[in-house]
Each structure stands twice: as C-alpha cells, then as structure tokens.
C-alpha cells in the first residue's frame, strides 16, 4: 500500500506491503527506479542506524510539540508550520546525503529539515521566537532558516519558489563538478506552480544533479490534492520531461531511506533528475490558526494510530530487542534537550533595532 491516506481513492493504511505496486501505470514509462525500489523497498538499517533514525524523528516531534506550545503562549508570532507526522521524510532522505557535498532546499515547513542535520535545536527555537541568537539572527523566523555550513539553502516562504533555486544549486554543482546533488523539497500544493515545470524541463534537458522531493501530505492549507490537482499521482508529473518518478511511502523511514539510495545513485551517475513523491501526512493544522474544517478528526486519528512513522520505528526497535525503558530514557533525554532550547529561546534578547538595516545589501546603508 503506497498511499498512507486515500488520495481520493479508497485505501486503508497498512504497513504490510510497501511501495511495490506499479500496476496500472502502463502509461508511465519512466518507472525503472520505482521498479528497482520495489524489489527491495526497505533499507537494511543496522540496530544503531535504526536507533539513530528513531532519535532524530523523535527530536523533531518533541521540538515541534514545544514550538506549538510556545506559539500558544505568544512567544512565537505570525506564521509557524509544524512538521509533525512527516518526520520520516526528512530523516529518510537526508540521512542518505553526502554531508560534505550535497545541498538541500525546502519551503517554509522547514524545522524538521534543519533538525535532521543535527543543528542545535537552541538556535532553531530562538529563530522561531525572533531572537538575536537565532540561526538567522531573528530576521528570518520560522520559515526562513539557513545553514551554509550544512549546505542547507533554506527555508522559503513563497510557495514553489525554492524549486527553481534548487535547479540553480544543481547547476552550480554540475558546473563545479563537485560530485554533489541538490535535494529540493516542495509540497503537493507547490507542485502546481508554473516555475516548477520550467525547472523540470531545464533540469532534465541539462541533466542536472537534482532530486525533486514532493512531500505529499494530502493538503495545501485547506485544499485537498483532489480539489487542486489534475494529476494527483505526483510522481508522474515529470513524465513529460522524461524525469523518472518514484512513489514512496513517506511514513516509513526505512522505505524513504531505501528510495533515496536508489534515486541518489541514479542522479550521481549523471543521469539527470529524479522526481520522488513522498506520501505523508501532517497531523497538525497548516499553520497555527487552522480551523481544520477540510478533514475529519477520524482521518487524522487514523493516520496517527495506524501509520505513525515514529511508532513504526519504535515497534521495530522493540522487535529487535530494545527495551521499553531504554526508549523511555531516550525520550526523556530529548525532552530535556527541547526544554533547554525553549528556555534559551525565551531568555535570549531581541535583535537590536540597528539590525533592521543590516543585510539588506552587501554594504550597510
């Protein structure tokens, strides 16, 4: 079962058979990577690797829960988009990157991608609260975070714009011949922006080293994919540009990781772009004020209960002999880390007013 939630089609969530089904895709010729993935869909993680994935996903979850609380307390203002439910995507994909070479770019739902790099939660939380100690000095906020150290190019509030930038990052990788690739994330809603397709064409034409990763969480704000998209099988959207697509269960970190192995290999071998559709689900509202009238409580509950990426990893760890207590200790440690980040973000100072005028242009003015 590839889709974690019905994409307007009847499908009950099940962990049993991952993304193996390519039947009914006769019209979709570029599915060789999909087939490769289907043969061995799940990454053979060592016990330590699996534990690490679990910890990383749990950190994102706890961080986001806390960010939601700080928002409720008025410590975070404006717009804040939580990644809860989608953790397996960032961890599965980014764990397969070559940290020294590869670049990443994403939209505004970016806290998880930052945390996936192991960036200190303190400076991320302090950015959310708009403080000087934040990773963008409090000038970017939740949607606009960057780390050149990690080749993380943001953090972008304008839906879809980052995809074209990703094309440029990939072109620069190619031009410099540095062996790196660009991982460009965007949402199911962003997939309807015209510039995405301009980028698809250029990327395929010039065989750019780029992985387009559509995080299909089924909704763009209050609009379900079925109400906005003529083709809701997003992995097929590169067909006209001869970009191979992969339809991936984004709720299983090992499946995501394995799909990344297949896709990244293809790109690194100089074959041009790959389009991955990661089927996932956001549990929380789009941003912090979301009346959630566009979906039922049951739908959300069903995903949480039957398809949660963290619960899945936890169960697997326990099957492999980890004790409940050990996992509880991990959770405790992560909660402490997140609390420390929250305290830090509350106690650091606001940027000085003079900061309004810095970084507008290269010179101060």
């Amino acid at each position: 079962m590839a889709k974690p939630a019905s994409k307007g089609k009847a499908s009950a969530p099940s962990a049993a058979t991952p993304t193996a089904d390519v039947s009914g895709n006769a019209d979709f010729v570029l599915h060789s990577l999909q087939q490769t993935h289907a043969k061995a869909p799940r990454y053979q993680a060592s016990d330590d690797e699996l534990l690490k994935f679990y910890e990383q996903m749990l950190l994102i979850r706890r961080f986001e829960e806390r960010a939601g609380q700080l928002y409720g307390l008025g410590l975070i203002g404006g717009f804040c988009h939580l990644y809860i439910g989608q953790e397996a995507v960032a961890i599965g994909l980014q764990s397969a990157l070559d940290a020294d070479k590869d670049s990443v770019i994403t939209g505004y739902r970016d806290h998880g991608h930052m945390l996936a790099y192991g960036i200190d939660p303190k400076v991320i939380m302090a950015e959310l609260t708009g403080r000087e100690a934040g990773i963008s000095k409090g000038k970017g906020g939740s949607m606009h975070m960057f780390s050149t150290e990690h080749k993380f190019y943001g953090g972008h509030g304008i839906v879809g714009a980052q995809v074209a930038l990703g094309g440029g990052l990939a072109l620069a990788h190619q031009y410099r011949n540095d062996g790196g690739l660009c991982l460009a994330y965007f949402g199911d809603g962003a997939a309807n922006q015209g510039q995405v397709y301009e980028t698809f064409n250029m990327a395929s034409l010039w065989k750019l080293p780029i992985v387009f990763a559509i995080e299909n969480n089924q909704y763009a704000m209050g609009t379900s994919t079925a109400r906005s998209s003529a083709e809701t099988e997003f992995y097929r959207r590169g067909t006209a540009f001869r970009i191979p697509g992969m339809d991936v269960n984004g709720m299983d970190v090992l499946e995501v990781r394995q799909a990344a192995e297949v896709a990244f290999k293809h790109v690194r071998e100089g074959n041009g772009p790959v389009l991955m559709e990661l089927n996932t689900y956001r549990y929380r509202g789009h941003s912090m004020s979301d009346p959630a009238k566009y979906r039922t409580r049951e739908e959300v509950q069903d995903q949480r209960e039957h398809n949660d990426p963290i619960e899945r990893a936890k169960k697997e760890l326990m099957d492999r002999g980890r004790s409940e207590d050990e996992l509880k200790d991990i959770d405790k440690r992560i909660r402490a880390q997140v609390s420390e980040a929250a305290d830090f973000s509350e106690s650091s100072t606001e940027p000085a007013p003079a900061e309004l005028y810095t970084d507008v242009l290269v010179e101060s003015y």
């Binding site: 404006g78 606009h144 304008i158 998209s229 309004l356």
Partner: protein
C-alpha cells in the same frame, strides 16, 4: 465588449437600512451583491471556495452561488491572473483573490504585460475588466512574506487602477465600483484593519469596527466612484495624505496630540483625486504624507512631487513623509519598523514648527 448588466444601475440607495459590520463582512457583502446582480462575475482563488478564504472574505459564497461562480484554484498565481485576463477579454468579470499581496509577484507578468496593456494595444477593442483582491500591509507579525505594501509597483504601471479602502463602508462601495469598472483594478485590502480600526498604539486593545461610525454599511447595492478621496477630518493646521491602515493611525495620533489636521484618505491611488489634494494643501499650506510601504519610489514620492509642483507657492513648510524603512519587512522588531505614532508624532511636530 464586456459590458456588465448593471452598468447603468443607480449609484446609491440613500435610505437603505444599514447595519454595523466589519471590513471582511463588508467585502463579503459586496461580492455577494455583485454575484447576485451580474452573472458574469466570477470569484476564484486559493481556498476561496470550499474554505471561504483564509480571512473569510468569501465565506458562504460558494454555497450560495455554486462552484461555477466561486471556486478554488491551485496555487498558481501566474495562471490565476492570466486566466482572469482571458476571461475578462471574453466578457466575464473575474474577481480573483491573491491570498496575500506578497504572493502577487508570480502574476506580475500577466498583470503588467497583459492586463494593463490589452486595451491600449488593441485600440480599445479588448479589455480586461478584472478586480484582483488582495490583503496587504503589516502589523500582523507576518514577516517578509505576509506584510508587504507593494502598491507603488502597480501605480507605476499605466493601465492599472489601484484602490485601497480604509473603512467597511468604503470597502463595500469601492469594491462594487471596482468590479463594475471596465479596467483592471488592483484592490488592496489593509488586513490589519479587517476587524477593527487599528490605531497604531499596539499595546492598547483595538476598538472593534461595530463602534466606529464608518462601519455603518447600507444593505444592498451602492458604489463609490473610483478617483474620489474622502476627507476623514477637516482641519486647518496641515493636510495629511494617507490611505489604508495609516488613515486610522494618523487620526489617532492627531487626536492624541490635539493637532487640527485635515486628513485625506485617498481611497484610490490611480486615478488620484488631485483636486481634493490641491484644495486642501492650498488651504493649510502644510502637507504630511503617511504610508506603510517602503520610502524610495513609494507612492509618497509621487504625492510629494505633485504637491510641490502644484501647490508650491502655498507651502509654508517642506512636504514631509512618514513611511516604512527601505528594508524588507522584518520578522522581529515589527513595532520598531512600523511607521507608527512615534514617527508620525515627530513629523507632525517638525512640519508644524517649520
């Protein structure tokens, strides 16, 4: 081409019953009335149908008029605006919503090269009678992608009209006029004052619209002609030219300081009510311009030039501007950035002492 069925409808219903409503309700009312009057009016945009708009401006309209009249679009601003131009040319009267003014840029090419130029290059044969509605302006902690005031990008383009209401009464009448207008209109809604006339004193509670006289909105159809300014308050000490949220901020500061200002709410930037401006500045001899948008090449620069060109010999002091700083809209420090009471107060002092 494209004539509306109510082109010659009466311009007002003076004795209609009225009720006190906020700006969102007034906009919703205008849209409702125009959908009811004119079968060529169509509303489209991200989350405007099923969801009723992120600010609820289109709430209930899809239920009432159906999905062919009020519908959701994909996140495709360039496509939305381009489609509206074509719909307009073929006799419809589309009212696309761009969810925030900050998202209008992907549609700029369609607005500038197509919507604004169609009439001219076809010698009047094809027109684009569309109204792009979009919430704009700051004061909501939206940071750089939810707070901008890009009006001067549009006033700079010949072939577009730019309208900015500041009260529920005006929002309704101006929106109806914009929809009926046979040219493309950019209709910017100051979102900070959707629910109440924000005074700029951000630490004080905002008074709701219901208690404000300009929230008394007649039921039914009325329109306010584009290109007519509104005198918010008559006065002799100086003229303040402003629009949108800053109308209320300026009025509050003048009240607080006891300044006898003549406050002019421009309501439409293009076409501009230059007569009203001239008459007032000739009377007061002093002119302050206030807007949220960044300063350089902002609409205030145009106003300042016009006042200087036309009223030079009446001026007793240099024209002053209070504007946003020439920086992106910040994430933190919003109230240091926002051209609020402190900066307006200083400008008033300066201009009155000069």
């Amino acid at each position: 081409m494209a004539s509306s069925v109510i082109d010659d409808a009466p311009v007002g219903l003076a004795d209609a019953p009225a009720r006190n409503i906020n700006m969102i309700e007034a906009i919703n009312d205008a849209l409702d009335i125009m959908l009811g009057h004119d079968p060529t009016v169509i509303i489209m945009g991200e989350d405007v149908g099923y969801f009723g708009g992120v600010f609820r401006a289109t709430a209930g309209l899809q239920e009432k008029y159906g999905k062919t009249r009020v519908f959701d679009t994909p996140i495709s601003e360039c496509g939305i605006i381009g489609a509206a131009v074509g719909m307009g040319a073929y006799g419809l009267r589309p009212v696309p919503e761009i969810q925030f003014a900050d998202y209008i840029y992907p549609g700029m090419d369609q607005l500038i090269s197509e919507a604004a130029r169609l009439r001219y290059r076809s010698a009047g044969e094809f027109i684009a009678p569309m109204t792009v509605r979009s919430p704009f302006g700051g004061g909501i902690f939206g940071g750089q992608t939810h707070s901008q005031s890009p009006e001067s990008l549009f006033t700079h383009v010949a072939g577009l009209k730019t309208v900015i209401p500041s009260t529920p009464y005006d929002a309704k009448g101006l929106l109806i006029a914009a929809i009926e207008d046979n040219d493309p209109v950019i209709f910017f809604e100051p979102k900070r004052i959707y629910n109440g006339p924000f005074s700029g004193y951000y630490d004080k509670p905002v008074e709701p619209w219901k208690t404000h006289p300009d929230s008394k909105v007649p039921e039914g159809y009325y329109s306010i002609p584009l290109g007519k300014a509104r005198t918010v308050r008559q006065g002799d000490a100086l003229t303040v030219l402003t629009y949108g949220t800053m109308v209320h901020v300026t009025a509050a500061v003048c009240r607080e300081k006891g300044v006898d200002a003549e406050i002019i709410d421009l309501r439409t930037l293009v076409p501009l009510d230059i007569e009203a401006i001239e008459a007032s500045v000739e009377k007061t001899g002093r002119c302050l311009i206030v807007h949220e948008a960044t300063r350089t090449s902002g609409f205030g620069a145009e106003l300042s030039a016009l006042v200087t060109e036309r009223c030079f010999y009446h001026l007793e002091a240099p024209v002053e501007r209070v504007t946003g700083f020439d920086t992106p809209y910040p994430h933190s420090l919003e109230w240091a950035y926002f051209p609020g009471p402190v900066r307006i107060g200083e400008a008033l002092d300066k201009i009155l002492e000069a």
